[in-house]
């Protein structure tokens, strides 16, 4: 017999090497980033039964044509001016709201020719089939920014915190439930002051 007694121990010296190999593999393949983007809600496919009559002055029409040019309320505009124009329209408060109330927090010019109240103001975004997606996103981004800036202003005035940061904390799964319950009424109040009415119409077929 060649061997006797206890079997020889397996050499574990290379275990660290194997573990390192695996570790490096997982290090390389790991992506911890989370995606981010613009959240939107599409309209349901069946139209509402009694569509409300909307006055033309309460609609802010933004058209992006196939050459990626902007037409805002029937006049051409540069993208950099869009945010201010949308803010002025939303914050106008020239008349009364849905329940006949005047907008006591609006700081706009109160032009009777522009929107009555933020809860009546609608932004209608139309695009051509040949519009480039990047441009469309840039326009959407500017319009969302207009809403966010107005909401931030009111949230700062009422609660001393930006709306966007409250919303981010509310959506963060790591936030404890108690804090969320506290944030929810605040967020809903701000959202009610400036409801996001951004309609994305189907593109014209030409």
């Amino acid at each position: 017999m060649a061997r006797r007694g206890a079997p020889p121990e397996v050499n574990a010296g290379s275990m660290a090497d194997i573990a390192f190999l695996l570790l490096i593999f997982f290090l390389v393949t790991t992506t911890i980033e989370t995606d981010a983007g613009l959240d939107r809600k599409l309209p349901p496919i069946e139209p509402p039964e009694n569509p409300p009559i909307i006055k033309q002055k309460n609609i802010f029409t933004v058209v992006v044509n196939k050459n990626n040019q902007l037409l805002v309320e029937d006049s051409p505009m540069e993208l950099k001016d869009l945010r201010e124009a949308a803010k002025e329209f939303l914050d106008n408060g020239g008349g009364t709201g849905e329940k006949g109330e005047t907008c006591d927090y609006c700081q706009g010019p109160r032009n009777p020719e522009s929107s009555d109240h933020p809860n009546k103001a609608i932004i209608s975004l139309q695009n051509d089939r040949l519009t480039e997606y990047g441009t469309y996103i840039a326009v959407q981004n500017e319009l969302v920014a207009a809403y966010n800036e107005l909401r931030n202003r009111e949230a700062q005035r009422l609660f001393g915190e930006d709306f966007t940061s409250m919303d981010a904390r509310y959506l963060d799964p790591k936030t404890p439930d108690g804090v969320k319950d506290d944030l929810k009424p605040k967020i809903e109040r701000i959202q009610k002051m400036y409801p996001q009415k951004l309609s994305e119409a189907e593109p014209k077929s030409n």
């Binding site: 790991t30 997606y133 799964p173 189907e202």
Partner: protein, 160 residues
Amino acid sequence: MAKFTKKKKGDLPAVSTASLPDIVFMLLFFFMTVTTMKDSSLMIKNELPYADQVQKLDKKDRVIYIYAGKPSPRYQDKFGTAAKIQLNDKFADVSEVANYVLAERSSKREELQNVLTTALKVDNETNMGLVSDIKQELRKVNALKINYTTKSGDAFQNLK
């Protein structure tokens, strides 16, 4: 007289490396648990546009992904250069989007089926016609919550 045993000079004891595998394994398990494998390889060019008013898309289990863009160079001789939709691992037609969303939805847990978001990962240079067609299909199957996935950055960069 007490006898002091002098330590031997110049002979440092070797640092024990016996616990090194444990440490490495600990790291290994950490990365194994946080890793998410890329589940589908992209067959299209996917340069996302920039935006800065973004919301995070947490909780990957309640997201359905739809990719669109021009086919990558190695697929171009077969599929052409027109923008196409990619669902999972293959190119798809617009009419297949609805079925795909329904199939994905039914594969999720029941309590998540009503809170699903559809993430549109669309290339910067795609025409809106294709995106509108996808949106129209999503409306048909009542998948109304969508997210235009973007990179974070100044939106004016999209115009160049």
